[in-house]
């Protein structure tokens, strides 16, 4: 039987706890509201010897991501967290992480450049940078997804960096009842990181010159990795369910009361809670309404949507989003 502990913690704390359970080896981080508690909690774990990791307390997020790239190519498990202007400041390096094919996991409690409310403009700008982006609804899911995240990103069919995204100020700071898995169980789910190749390894006896062919071929492979990621996300979701008894739809999309639905709402992250209540209320009034929560924003699960649509036959989808793209009503 799975051993779990029940605690009342925030989404940020849940992420930090997952990172500890994942036995991450190198962390770099820089404070920013509402992410800082992740950094602080991890600092505590390291200061207390509960987590045996190198922790680079960088002087800014651009350097943070540079350090993560440097550590990543040494073939060890890496983690960081940032959001809002921090994510934006790091953009140049974010754009490059996937080129290294290192499975970095980043936690992002979304916020905008200035406002102190959740808003996805920070991570939407990164939707083209090759990150897998999983949006989660709750503190519990943040913990579960961080653990799954390492497994997905590190899978040799994928080897792409991954973001765990949750609503800043809301999920990040809301205390909630969360089940904490045991180290033992997590070790079963997430074995130590086996790099596909270690690009920086001074102990190697043969000297190797790494080469990369032109960008087009790289792009093709990254595209393939992203396609594979869909399968791998599903698998991780299933395996996790087997051990811990929790799953989120097929891992890509989580449907809610879609049976015979005429219309379904498409939501992401914490707004889903409210939307579920709306669906419940409408169902009570006899309206055939359902809900699809988009968990995997990248890779985008077009097939799952189509399958679900076929299966349940709903006619219309209404999308609720928390970001705005200027000047693009059709792009």
């Amino acid at each position: 039987m799975v051993k779990e502990k029940v605690e009342f913690i925030t989404g940020n704390d849940a992420v930090a706890y997952a990172v500890k359970l994942a036995r991450v080896k190198v962390i770099a981080a820089y404070p920013i509201t509402p992410q800082s508690p992740v950094t602080e909690k991890l600092s505590e774990y390291v200061a207390n010897g509960e987590l045996d990791a190198e922790f680079i307390k960088v002087e800014g997020e651009h350097s943070c991501l540079a350090a993560m790239r440097g550590a990543g190519v040494c073939g060890v498990r890496t983690f960081t967290a940032t959001c809002g202007p921090g994510l934006m400041y790091a953009h140049e390096n974010l754009e490059c992480v996937h080129r290294d094919r290192t499975p970095l996991v980043i936690a992002v409690p979304n916020r905008s450049y200035s406002s102190l409310f959740p808003d996805y403009t920070d991570s939407m700008c990164e939707a083209t940078t090759g990150f897998i982006q999983l949006f989660v609804e709750s503190a519990q899911e943040a913990l579960d997804t961080t653990l799954q995240g390492f497994r997905i990103a590190e899978d040799h069919r994928v080897l792409m960096p991954l973001m765990v995204l949750y609503d800043g100020y809301v999920t990040s700071h809301t205390g909630a009842t969360v089940r904490l898995p045991s180290q033992e169980d997590v070790d079963k789910f997430l074995p130590p990181f086996k790099p596909y190749v270690v690009r920086v390894d001074p102990s190697r006896s043969e000297y190797i010159q790494w080469e990369r062919p032109g960008v087009p071929l790289q792009e093709m492979e990254h595209e393939m990795a992203m396609t594979n990621a869909k399968e791998v996300i599903k698998e991780a979701n299933e395996e996790y369910a087997k051990i811990f008894g929790r799953s989120y739809g097929d891992g890509l999309v989580e449907p809610y009361r879609v049976e015979d639905a005429d219309v379904v709402l498409v939501t992401m992250a914490s707004m889903t809670g409210t939307a579920r209540q709306v669906v419940d209320a409408l169902r009570e009034k006899g309206k055939n309404v359902g809900l699809l929560r988009l968990r995997s924003f990248r890779p985008f699960p077009a097939e799952t949507f189509q399958e679900l649509q076929k299966k349940y036959g709903f006619r219309a989808m209404g999308v609720c989003e928390r970001d705005v793209t200027h000047g693009c009503n059709y792009g």
Partner: protein, 95 residues
């Protein structure tokens, strides 16, 4: 689990053993960059190895008798000739 392992083509590791290095160097020979070619006067050379240290590319070896230049890889910059304390190296027009 689907066994759909991908082969990375984007990151090619080329082993660098002696042979590979030689091939690599041949493939990238830079002699054509030269306008002038350094010629060592074996008699004059005092084997001080200053030119060995100063050759930017590091293509002068400590030879048995005198400094030995690898003409495949020498770019003809003229530093060795300029710095040889006994003027044992002369730059000659390549052709």
């Amino acid at each position: 689990m689907t066994e759909q392992k991908i082969e990375w083509k984007t990151l090619r590791g080329r082993k660098l053993d002696e042979e590979a290095i030689k091939k690599y160097q041949e493939g990238r020979a830079v002699w054509a960059w030269r306008v002038f070619k350094p010629i060592v006067d074996e008699e004059a050379c005092r084997r001080c190895w200053l030119c060995v240290d100063y050759c930017p590319e590091g293509v002068i070896e400590k030879g048995e008798k005198a400094a030995e230049i690898n003409y495949l890889l020498c770019k003809g910059c003229g530093v060795c000739a300029e710095e040889c304390p006994v003027e044992a190296i002369k730059m000659e027009r390549e052709r």
